[in-house]
Symmetry: C2
Subunit: 142 residues, 2 copies
């Protein structure tokens, strides 16, 4: 399968600005610029979009794994923090923090094992081999 | 620096659905589901968001490189195609296609060299070491 996105940039790095769009239209000439990326301007930036892709992929992989094991997942909620270092010119880490509703018959230990597997198997994790991915899990067994 | 995004998924893989949000608010409980990812449902999916992150990063890296070399970039336009294989459970390739306005004094050969460098140096490229990244360039010297 193929998914498509587009970015347009006009002008130099500091005073220029860009627009990002996706195939689905959920991003539609969405603004980004030097300031939205490296300072606190309003608009998007590649790092938060990477975080969105990764959180989305991992959370869905978690539902898939639970479904395949015969569990009915309730609310699964993942925050992805993307850490990057301007000096080094490198994204260093994505931190995934998962919180979930209690699932009948599923222990904390099993839940955490399933989450570790989802982290490894998620398509975006498998693509992001150039950085560290950490996972924390908050789950209470019933 | 840290950038943040969030994904929430409710229910099993086929009938459940999710919502993705980013720190900037450009994604704000944006819908995604099994169908928007692997079929033709309306909504976003992690792969197009990865493409958006990569296209955005590369195009800005191109403006940075041109600016640093003393050129004034005009329109830089990149489409990112993300190819994934459901059977293999793998994103196989991101294809970056760059088209650009003519820049005074810059040859096609130099432009293409700068573009190859931007592809290597872009933060998202450096994170995506688990897949192939290809680049095509369309540029006419003046």
């Amino acid at each position: 399968m193929k998914r498509t996105a587009n970015a347009i940039w006009n002008g130099n790095i500091k005073s220029g600005s860009g627009k990002i769009s996706t195939q689905s239209g959920v991003l539609n000439s969405t603004q980004y610029s030097f300031n939205t990326r490296f300072a606190d301007g309003i608009g998007t930036n590649p790092e938060e979009l990477l975080g969105a892709a990764h959180a989305g992929c991992f959370t869905m992989a978690m539902s898939l794994a639970l479904t395949q094991l015969g569990y009915e997942p309730g609310n699964l909620n993942t925050t992805a923090n993307v850490y990057f270092d301007m000096e080094k010119g490198k994204i260093e880490m994505v931190e995934l923090n998962l919180t979930a509703d209690t699932i009948a018959g599923l222990s904390s230990k099993e839940f955490e094992e399933i989450a570790r597997g989802a982290k490894e198997n998620c398509l975006i994790s498998k693509a992001l081999t150039g950085l560290d991915i950490t996972l924390s899990v908050e789950y209470k067994e019933g």
